[in-house]
Amino acid sequence: MEIAVVIIVIVVVIAIWYIGVSNSIKTAELKINEAESGIDVALTKRYDVLTKMLDTVKGYQKYEQSVLTEIVKLRSGMTMAEKNLANSSMDKLTKDINILAENYPELRSNNNFVELQKAIVEVEEHLQAARRLYNANVNSYNSKIIVFPNSIVAKNMNAVKKDYFEAEDIKRQDVKMEF
């Protein structure tokens, strides 16, 4: 009788622990998803501002239409690696536009362009914040699922390590953006 009670208590304790860990992993995953949607919003905003910037720049130098479509293609991908790549492409595009502006003083004095430059800085700050939040959540989640005995629950839930959102230099070089 006593042994049965002890076994029941142990089973209940394990069940409570399992539910607790499982809930905390689900909550962490939910936070990652929320943060990821923040990245999507910031990337979309950045894309919109860059589109406007390219329209303004158009009058100063001819550029290939493929510049935009390439970004669009990259944005259609849903994985974090592809988002990273899209972000890298936009980094490169921003840099190219700034180099172009250096060569055209009249572009630098164009009010619309100046406003867009301010907007892009603001959008990039938001993207940076979304990226840091996402990475902080991913870090917390990854640590949670690899630590024993949480890893047993994580394995049963098929929880796998998530990718960080960070620009990778090699991939950035792969994307060719030209005016």
Binding site: H126, R132, L133, A136
Partner: protein, 288 residues
Amino acid sequence: MDIMQTMNNMEQLRKKCVISKVAGIALTVFGTFLLCTMRFNYEIVFFIIALILMLTGVAVMKFFDKEKKQFQFLYKNTFAKGVLDSIFSDVVCNWEIGFHPQQIEGIGLIRMGNRIHSEDYVSGTYQGVKFEQADVVVKHVVRTGKSTHTYTYFEGRVFSFDFPKTDYWSVAVFSKSFTYSGALQNLRHDKVEMESKEFNRNFIVRAMRPVDAFYVLKPQVMECISNLYSHYGNVAIRYVGGKMYVAINLAGNAFDGDIYKKIIYAEEVDKIRRDCSVIIDVIQSLNV
């Protein structure tokens, strides 16, 4: 009135303050001692003498308070105003008033008690950034029949700075030693874990939207907040509605003179400059 004359006046006032305080304490203590050690068979005249001594002591202490107030007012107008004008522009000082209790409650950083006092209001501009500051004391007095307990929730300085960014909701940072934190205007603020373990060890970050915490608390800002914390101790910061509020629990008042120390012009100016440096530190380090 030239500065030498003002300083002489201040020195006289200071001495008067010290004498009246020492005399007040001595009379009160002596009177109390007489009352406590008196036997019942002593004559009534001793009782009256002891009572007179005590009452005189209390009256002298009251006189001390009045003199001290006068000294501080003269001190602030002589030293603080001049130094503030030399460092900041558009300086407005009002030593009698500070932030309104409702304003302090609205900032949401400090737990509200039932005794709120604020004075030494100063506003001005530094490097194009507008600021306001005041000394704030928040106490909570609890009477439980026989005894009375006074809890000091906050005794320090509260600053308000114009913050150029507005694209966020509300973010608050409390150092863990900031025991009596405020209610953040009863708005729902979730706890946010930043990516820096060191920062999380020393601070509690709360935000209405977690992403806003990462937006305003950039790595260099986090580093600067850590520096402020290591320099000033209990610190709380809130970003809301285009303003940045900073509460530093210094357990003391800014711009006040020390009545127990002889006034030396250069030293007093240095002291006021140190009090002003908090404002400069915040503006320069927190990128406002």
